[in-house]
């Protein structure tokens, strides 16, 4: 098979982020946060705002490309894309940016995400729609939600708890296993002063004592609700060599929706109830990057909820189907001794919930050797966007030699 023509040909050359706050804590508007993150990422790259000629955003981003371009005085935009869904898209936008710059449709593409849940309402409440495009629930609901909301099935935690429960039934997975994922993320956040949960360590006992949200999910199985923004800058690797920072190579990028899966999750194939739906994406991604699970030194795995991280670990072949519980025992996910340190900045659980783009930023820091929880000698970082939310997406970042 021909190798993926984009392998290593595009790079992330700049990252930026605002301060992160608990939802409602931001002292600026969502739009101001978006602009700040973009400015920082472009400055980090050693480029000017006028060099930017492409924007990729997702999930009904309210800080629209046209508003941001005008406000910041960006160059003539030649490529713009908006990916559907929510956190599933965090790696897909980087994929789109890579395709755009590799094809010559654009030269410098910025991907950004801004979330001000304080300004616009919290994700954990009952809402209809997806991502920031969600609206308040009315007196009646049509479409798919006519069959779920009147049963009180109206939050992400509840929907994903159904998968976690089935995984427990089929494979003997326990709440402790889910808790071990939280403990790893919180441990890493203690080393990251940017993390909202910095200074708030978590033990497995704390996890087990936390209040139940939607059985089997407890409070600490759920991602945070945050305010903040982050951004990344993508360009061709040959162009990147002249820039301020050493490029971080996009070794592989992939998106995927398994056959039969889709918006109506009641209708998905049976095996996808206990999967992140990413097994096919994982196969594509490894083939494109020319590496396998054993080559991954560190991973940033989107935590909407802990059980879905466990299913992601299985989908990406770090263990067999149903073996995720056993795999995470014994500190496997914890720096510095674990075999697969994850979410080294604290992740969505303990750094901030910026719809997953913060995980890409942390992947870049790992490949630059600049993480506050640096995996020594790391050469490959896997980044996986929102699991069990098709179409989802993933990246393998490679340290430039």
């Amino acid at each position: 098979m021909e190798p993926w023509p984009l392998r290593d040909r595009t790079s992330i050359v700049g990252i930026g982020e605002t301060q992160y706050w608990k939802a409602g804590g931001a002292d600026r508007t969502e739009f101001e946060l978006a602009c700040e993150a973009v400015q920082r990422a472009v400055a980090d790259a050693g480029l000017t705002l006028a060099d930017v000629d492409g924007i990729c955003v997702y999930s009904g981003e309210r800080s629209s490309p046209s508003e941001v371009a005008q406000a910041l005085g960006l160059g003539a935009l030649r490529f713009v894309s908006l990916y559907p869904g929510g956190g599933n898209s965090a790696c897909a936008v980087v994929h789109h940016a890579a395709l755009a710059v590799a094809s010559g449709s654009a030269d410098v593409v910025v991907c950004y995400r801004s979330i001000c849940q304080g300004q616009f309402g919290r994700f954990g409440r009952a809402r209809v729609g997806s991502g920031t495009a969600r609206a308040e629930v009315g007196e009646s609901v049509g479409g798919r939600e006519a069959f779920t909301m009147p049963s009180g099935l109206m939050s992400a935690a509840q929907s994903y708890a159904l998968e976690a429960r089935r995984h427990m039934h089929e494979y003997g997975t326990t709440s402790d296993h889910f808790g071990m994922i939280s403990v790893a993320c919180y441990a890493h956040a203690q080393r990251n002063p940017r993390a909202v949960m910095h200074g708030r360590p978590l033990t497995l006992e704390d996890h087990q004592r936390s209040r139940m949200i939607a059985d089997p999910y407890r409070l600490f199985d759920c991602c945070q609700e945050s305010d903040g923004a982050c951004a990344v800058v993508v360009t061709r690797t040959d162009r990147a060599r002249d820039l301020r920072r050493s490029p971080v190579l996009i070794a592989g990028a992939a998106e995927g929706l398994a056959p039969g899966d889709g918006g109506d999750r009641m209708r998905r194939p049976r095996e996808l109830w206990t999967s992140a739906g990413l097994a096919g994406t994982a196969r594509d991604l490894y083939a494109r990057a020319g590496v396998g699970p054993a080559d991954i030194d560190v991973a940033q795995l989107y935590e909407n909820f802990t059980g879905q991280v466990l299913m992601t670990i299985e989908d990406f072949g770090f263990c067999g189907r149903g073996e995720g519980g056993g795999f995470v025992e014994g500190g496997t996910l914890e720096w510095p001794h674990g075999a697969l340190p994850i979410n080294t900045a604290g992740g969505n659980l303990a750094e901030a919930y910026i719809h997953g783009l913060s995980l890409v930023n942390e992947g870049v820091r790992q490949m630059r050797g600049e993480s506050t929880t640096q995996v020594e000698g790391a050469e490959h970082c896997l980044v996986v966007a929102g699991p069990s939310a098709p179409p989802s997406s993933a990246l393998i970042l490679r340290r430039a030699s």
Binding site: G124, R125, A126, V137, G138, E139, S140, V141, G142, G143, R144, E145, A146, F147, T148, M149, P150, S151, G152, L153, M154, S155, A157, Q158, A161, L162, E163, R165, R166, H169, R211, M212, I213, A214, D215, P216, Y217, G260, D264, M266, R267, W273
Partner: protein, 145 residues
């Protein structure tokens, strides 16, 4: 106390909107019957309702009455309400039921009835209908006798 067919949701709980595609479903529900959409061309069942058959892309369909019996495929006990109508109902149980008939489609709902019966995977259940308005009866499930 809540009625045995209801989890005890408040009056502001959203009511299903009867739409052209789903009108036969809700018309049957009003008569205490659970009906499932079946492709008129290839016979494949589907639920939730959709305009097209994913197997053969036909839009032609009929509605087949189910026994309303099945087993709990998975469930969650909700203790944290995210809507005002659920505040006084927690804890309530959401189930996904794999029907014994109709191609084993998955039907979401609540486990209602005897509060002493806890949800578990594989619990045999049967459908009951909760008349939330004169027009709309919402299907829920109770442990099968």
């Amino acid at each position: 106390m809540s009625a045995p067919t209801s989890p005890g949701f408040g009056a502001t709980m959203p009511v299903p909107k009867v739409e052209p595609l789903t009108e036969p479903f809700w018309a049957a529900a009003r008569e205490g019957r659970l009906v499932i959409q079946r492709c008129a061309d290839c016979g494949t069942f589907r639920h939730l309702p959709h305009a097209l058959c994913a197997r053969c892309q036909s839009a032609a369909h009929d509605w087949v009455e189910s026994s309303g019996r099945g087993r709990v495929f998975t469930y969650t006990v909700v203790t944290h309400p995210v809507h005002a109508a659920a505040v006084d109902a927690v804890p309530y149980t959401v189930v996904v039921v794999e029907l014994d008939d109709c191609g084993g489609v998955m039907v979401p709902g609540n486990l209602v009835g005897d509060p002493a019966v806890a949800a578990r995977v594989d619990l045999p259940v049967e459908v009951v209908f909760d008349p939330v308005t004169d027009e709309v009866w919402v299907p829920r499930f109770r442990a099968a006798g």
